[in-house]
């Protein structure tokens, strides 16, 4: 599309966006949703399969209780009502990565309904309504070989891997979110971030967008103020938090330009492109499939015992938002400082570092400073940077004990991140410890004085500032491992001058 897009400020001044998010979360249960196959990531294609997840004739599903439990816990954490009786349903459509050519899902009887999730955007709380949380099975993965696009059309061969088929998938659907205005992209991102943190805190999924264990579809529409909501598009292939924000923004701009030109928005699925940041049309809903949903006759209805649900509710962990508030207080941070901790994804890391013995200030300094900088540079998540909270705490202990200067500590950290071992190991192996042995330091000072008699004389005669050159010489001979202040004091002392 070559049309020039209007400016974002202009768009939000004239149109009101309504967004909605559908999120799929792969549960980290040990086994698949309806069979006993393992769920771990990877593995040779079609090695984690059995008659059930291959949909072989005669096979039958049996619901995974752990997956039902995880879904209920997600529902409870999202303030949903838990159905006392609900059913799985078959969603019928033909696609080669669906072994049975229907997906066992839930339709009009989801496990959890009508909840909400509070998120913070620019210091304000926005309440996102949750329409439903339901449980279904994942599909396999199709690889289209040959052809230019890697899509099914034009491919000469299609290869299917069913390892992922049948992995429990939880779908979380928001109610439409109107009224976010210019902040719509940020609200979308904040929601997905918060949802990810909530689910992670429950320990039911590793919620990694890059690995596809958290997938997000974004619905966007625009309308003129006071008018009915516009036609929405559904953007898929949104694979990072940043992309969630970009996808909403880009779709708002695109729709505005279509509407400005007097056009109409087509209800369709669009694909987000990470590289260009824009969306292109996918399958049009004009050829919408009739999924012919009906209750899954191979499974008995789910009827979670209310006492069990109450137990699960009572056992929910402290949810991220409340935990953040508590930590902010404990750490004595301003709203703004806490926000930067959250944005850096450092809450858990700092908490663990503090637990390992560091002060909150020191823990925050390392994670938000040196380590965040490295994470940004190398494009990895902070949690995956290669240093653990325990190591950061150890590093700080070495600084506090005077064994490392700040500068040396940064060098040690570099070694830790490079996998050279614990901070103490790196310090020892690289011989980076501060020279605090006075005998060795005195020898170095005396050596410097002997080698620079002119400067020594100047200092003795009262030009104390000239001592800097001697300090430099000592620092050089100790390869920076001495504390400059101590060196200076020692030089003055040896020359009989008051500092």
């Amino acid at each position: 599309m070559t049309t020039t897009l209007p400016s974002y400020d202009d768009v939000v001044a004239r149109y009101e966006p309504v967004i909605g998010l559908e999120t799929h979360v792969e549960l980290g249960t040990r086994t698949k949703m309806f069979c006993g196959c393992p769920t771990d990531f990877g593995g040779e294609p079609n090695t984690r399969v059995c008659p059930v997840c291959l949909g072989l004739p005669g096979s039958l599903p049996v619901a995974n209780k752990a997956a039902v439990e995880a879904t209920i816990r997600i529902g409870l954490a999202l303030n949903c009502s838990i159905a006392q009786w609900c059913r799985f349903a078959r969603k019928n459509y033909f696609y080669p990565d669906m072994p049975k050519n229907f997906q066992i899902s839930q339709y009009d009887e989801p496990l959890c309904v009508d909840g909400y999730l509070d998120v913070e955007v620019n210091g304000e709380t926005v309440r996102i309504g949750i329409e439903r949380v339901h449980l279904e099975e994942d599909t396999g993965k199709t690889l289209h070989v040959g052809g230019a696009t890697g899509r099914i059309h034009g491919a000469t061969e299609s290869l299917v891997d069913y390892n992922r088929a049948g992995i429990p998938l939880v779908e979380i659907v928001t109610k439409p979110i109107p009224g976010a205005g210019a902040l719509a992209p940020e609200v979308a991102r904040a929601y997905v971030t918060e949802l990810r943190d909530v689910i992670r805190s429950l320990g039911v999924s590793d919620v990694r967008m890059e690995e596809g264990s958290l997938r997000c579809d974004v619905n966007t529409s625009l309308n003129l103020p006071g008018e009915e909501w516009g036609t929405r598009t559904e953007t898929k292939n949104v694979n990072s938090l940043r992309s969630v924000e970009r996808a909403v923004r880009s779709e708002m701009l695109r729709q505005a330009s279509v509407l400005d030109a007097g056009g109409r928005i087509t209800q369709e699925t669009r694909h987000f492109h990470e590289d260009t940041g824009d969306t292109t049309p996918g399958r049009s809903k004009e050829t919408a499939t009739d999924y012919r949903y009906f209750p899954e006759p191979d499974l008995v209805p789910l009827a979670p015992d209310p006492a069990w649900v109450a137990e699960l509710k009572a056992a929910l962990p402290e949810l991220p938002r409340l935990r953040r508030r508590r930590l902010q207080q404990e750490w004595g941070l301003s709203d703004l400082d806490m926000q930067s901790v959250v944005n850096a994804g450092a809450v858990e890391l700092i908490e663990a570092t503090v637990a390992a013995g560091a002060s909150p200030a020191a823990a925050r300094k390392w994670w938000l400073g040196e380590l965040s900088r490295r994470a940004n540079e190398t494009g990895v998540e902070l949690a995956d940077i290669g240093a653990t909270p325990a190591q950061v705490a150890e590093l700080q202990r070495l600084v506090d004990a005077g064994k490392l200067t700040d500068k040396l500590a940064r060098t040690v950290l570099e070694g830790v991140v490079a996998g050279e071992g614990s901070p103490t190991e790196v310090m020892t192996n690289r011989n980076l410890e501060v020279v605090s042995d006075t005998g060795a330091l005195t020898a170095a000072v005396d050596e410097a004085i002997a080698a620079n008699p002119d400067i020594a004389e100047k200092v003795r005669s009262g030009k104390v500032a000239a001592a800097g050159a001697l300090v430099g010489a000592v620092m050089k001979s100790t390869r920076g491992q001495a504390d400059a202040k101590s060196v200076r004091e020692l030089i003055l002392e040896r020359l009989g001058v008051q500092g």
């Binding site: 008659p51 291959l54 949909g55 072989l56 004739p57 005669g58 096979s59 039958l60 599903p61 049996v62 619901a63 078959r90 019928n92 033909f94 080669p96 072994p99 049975k100 050519n101 229907f102 099914i152 059309h153 000469t156 299609s158 299917v160 009739d290 012919r292 949903y293 009906f294 006759p297 191979d298 499974l299 008995v300």
Partner: protein
């Protein structure tokens, strides 16, 4: 025909246990019989002589080693080709699965092996169990041993014919709308549909999941009970399986065989009377009712007003479920694949495979079911049919508050000539008129031979409350003790 092939399963098991006949001898006798008559009967789609003899040898070795043998050890059994058998072809009577050898055994097949029975092979059936005559098998019809020009019933005509032709003393069937009971009736054999959930569906290639019920077929009520006991009971791999022990059907069959039904109340459904069963069938049924009265049973008439809607409800629910269950047959992972020439798209290959692989009756039901589930039609068809199903279940519950069991003719007509009803699906569907309500309700039903009409067998159906399968065995065994068993003319 060897003596061994005319024995009941109970008799064979006793011979094997007592060392009077080896399991290998018994098996060989049946394999010989199959070799002698099956080219005319065509009860089997696949005979696994090697596997059968190996299983028989294992039984003989266990006996020689002094191991305790179960009540059916060494007894041959024929299995309807609807159940998966590891490494043994399983076609469901369809071209779309020709040559498929499943990598796993159905639960029932596992239990048959564990019981020491000897699987002779797989029996013919209407394609995907859709039919009442076995004429819709993609591999040609099975013939009724009573008259080779007539149908053996369906869909499990192969299993029933194998029993009537003395090719096997026991067989497994599956009953979605009458596919065990109706073939039993028209071949003069016994066929029982257990309570839904009383026998595992794991490994049963699905036609209609909420109705399909595997069950026993035999020549005597006691044999059917013994087989029922061996295959029944909870299976954690089938979510719809009932977590309760099998009702004591064997004891009930033995009790019934004493010929005393004093204090038993049996109901005749008023609404079935006007449903146009053949006069000959009705006459034999009335004689059977008299016989039951003489055994001490009290006969009363009960009304089940919604049974009239059973057939239309069934022909919405079963095709709806089948349209979804049969979607997996697409040529991608197993079975037939047509048109994969490197030029056609995946969708085209799927379509061509299904076009070539499914027969006309299967396609008809897939289309009816697809339509009935379509958005905009769901409530009027599938939804409405489910409501009727609930009403029919209530009729049964109300009836069983008055009587211990219900009785009826199993099927409105005796075995009809091959080809007589294939041109009119509705005429074919009528064969299951009296058996379908039980499937919609989920309770058990049994067909037991009760006489002959113009030289052809007539069956009497006993229907009992869910998980009261023992009750129907008692009544059936009592009737059997009064009217005897029926032997077809020599082949």
């Amino acid at each position: 025909m060897s003596d061994l092939t005319t024995k009941t399963a109970a008799e064979i098991a006793a011979l094997v246990a007592g060392g009077e006949a080896s399991a290998v001898e018994v098996t060989q006798a049946h394999l010989d019989r199959i070799a002698a008559v099956d080219d005319r009967v065509h009860a089997f789609l696949h005979v696994d002589a090697e596997g059968a003899l190996a299983a028989a040898r294992a039984v003989d070795e266990r006996r020689a080693a002094g191991e305790a043998l179960g009540p059916l050890a060494g007894v041959p059994v024929a299995v309807k080709d609807v159940l998966t058998t590891k490494g043994v072809p399983t076609t469901v009577g369809s071209k779309i699965l020709e040559g498929w050898r499943p990598p796993y055994d159905a639960t029932i097949v596992e239990r048959l092996r564990a019981a020491g029975t000897v699987m002779l092979g797989k029996t013919n059936m209407d394609e995907f169990a859709m039919g009442s005559s076995t004429e819709y098998s993609a591999y040609g019809p099975t013939r009724n041993p009573w008259d080779l020009d007539r149908i053996p019933g369906g869909s499990g005509g192969g299993s029933a014919a194998a029993l009537a032709a003395y090719e096997a003393p026991l067989a497994i069937g599956s009953d979605t709308g009458g596919s065990i009971r109706q073939p039993g009736a028209v071949t003069g054999t016994v066929g029982a549909k257990p309570t839904y959930g009383g026998t595992s569906r794991y490994g049963l290639v699905a036609f209609s999941s909420s109705l399909d019920t595997p069950g026993p077929c035999a020549r005597t009520v006691l044999d059917a009970a013994l087989l029922h006991e061996a295959i029944g009971g909870h299976d954690p791999r089938d979510s719809t399986s009932i977590p309760q022990p099998v009702p004591d059907v064997v004891a009930a069959a033995k009790l019934g065989a004493t010929g005393d039904l004093t204090g038993v109340r049996l109901g005749i459904v008023t609404e079935f009377a006007g449903e146009g069963a053949e006069p000959g069938v009705l006459a034999v049924f009335r004689e059977a009712v008299d016989a039951l009265t003489k055994l001490g049973a009290e006969i009363v008439e009960v009304s089940c007003p919604h049974f009239t809607y059973a057939l239309p409800a069934y022909y919405l629910i079963a095709p709806s479920e089948c349209s979804s269950n049969l979607a997996r047959f697409d040529g991608v992972r197993f079975g037939l694949r047509v048109g994969d020439d490197g030029n056609r798209s995946l969708e085209e290959v799927m379509s061509l495979t299904r076009e070539a692989g499914f027969g006309p009756e299967v396609k008809r039901r897939i289309m009816i079911g697809t339509y009935a589930l379509s958005s905009g039609y769901y409530d009027a068809y599938y939804g409405q049919a489910q409501k009727v199903r609930t009403l029919i279940s209530r009729d049964f519950t109300a009836a069983f508050a008055q009587v211990d069991a219900l009785i009826s003719p199993t099927t409105p007509f005796v075995a009809f000539p091959i080809g007589a009803r294939t041109s009119d699906p509705y005429q074919m569907y009528l064969a299951d008129l009296f058996t379908i309500p039980t499937n919609l309700y989920g309770g058990p039903g049994i067909s037991v031979p009760c006489g002959l009409s113009d030289g052809l067998p007539v069956g009497l159906q006993v229907m009992a409350p869910t998980m009261a399968d023992d009750r129907m065995y008692r009544v059936a065994a009592a009737l059997e003790s009064a009217v005897g068993t029926f032997t077809p003319p020599a082949l």
